[in-house]
Subunit: 133 residues, 4 copies
């Protein structure tokens, strides 16, 4: 989901990178760092988010768990409800496996955010399309 | 979306590969080859699907365009309605940019397919979770 | 090899993208498009290079085959000798499998190019390191 | 370099996965886990290697630093000499930037390993080529 969101932001004219890809540079002071983890505990996401926080990035966390390692690192937290992979018993809000429900909710939330940005910045469909590989 | 679907199928116990990743082997006769393109005309998807068809794979195509190069190559076509990047005028069924609407519909359709497979093969959440990296 | 080269160019301060990654935008007139294929015939590389040529990019091709589809598309061709996967009989210049020899030669050639650029642009090691994720 | 090595092992008939790719399953007891880091301190590599060690994988580490966090986690360590990104002063053994020298040495070492495996397992070039996408 994070990669799709990064692509949409690129279509909208933002300078954006996805951690783990070839040409992603080091984060720098003042960058916005966007972390996604349904459980808020994914090891690699936590490690990279700490790195961003140490460089004085603005950390925004999207998670289903308000009480989590990742949420504690954030300047802003966006709670997207949904079942995540550790959930069982009463926490299970879905017949679907693992974090499927979270991923679906997240997809809609991030696309809604992109739609709002496209209105705000007055980006037309043809303008966004011209940026698509 | 295709990568998320491949990951879910792996969780469900299927042997699955995603084209373009490091350890994806050559396709072989009898393999099921799953192609996704909202327009049905994405150059790279078409090139790879032709390669799969020439090797006698069973080609399944997911697209919003019943009349398209990709659909013509398929043994089975799954039509997921939604706006795609070339659409304009009357074809535009969405206020969202590019293929956002298609991608959202596709996400739900593929996750529904995974849910049906999890019921059919009797895969529990803990079994699927144990396969997750 | 291409991805490593793209990363080094980023360290050197160039704006560079790798085709197939999330945030890679559409190519535009005047861009330099760098294509690598040992055989000069890799389907996907050829498709993408044609796309770049149609957009009036400056196409630079690196291949072991001077006579190839890819070389014919190029404004400049850089021949890196080495065995490639179709070679057999007299063409086989290596005991190694597939394109291993080409890949090794390519690695050294591209790193030498980066070293020359670092001298030309006067980039220090600490400057390059500060860009590394 | 690690991805190229994984691809060669796949060509040779081994079942291999690259961490961070879509269909990479959870590691399991008895798996061989191969970690590469020139400094032996790369955060993400260390986190993932600890995860593998906790699941009783056989951890093999390739690094230029015999004394490092990663080397301390390993069952076997393969030292590939070469400059790495933190090195300066006397440690700098190369005019090249960052870990270029390490990467080049590593490339040759891993390809030599693949060549030895191809002899040992009697894999012909055409057999390996048939597995290449």
């Amino acid at each position: 989901m994070g990669k799709g969101f990064a692509m949409r932001l690129m279509h909208l004219g933002y300078t954006v990178y996805s951690v783990g890809e070839t040409i992603t540079p080091a984060v720098d002071k003042g960058d916005i760092y966007f972390s996604i983890s349904s459980s808020g505990e994914s090891d690699n996401v936590v490690v990279n988010t700490k790195k961003a926080k140490n460089k004085d990035c603005h950390v925004i966390v999207v998670t289903s768990k308000e009480i989590s390692t990742l949420a504690a690192l954030a300047e802003k937290v966006l709670i997207v409800p949904g079942t995540t992979k550790g959930d069982d018993g009463e926490q299970t809000k879905s017949v679907q496996l693992l974090s499927s429900l979270f991923d679906q909710s997240l997809h809609i939330v991030l696309d809604a955010l992109c739609l709002m940005l496209s209105y705000k910045n007055n980006i037309s469909n043809s303008e966004a399309t011209s940026k698509h590989w």
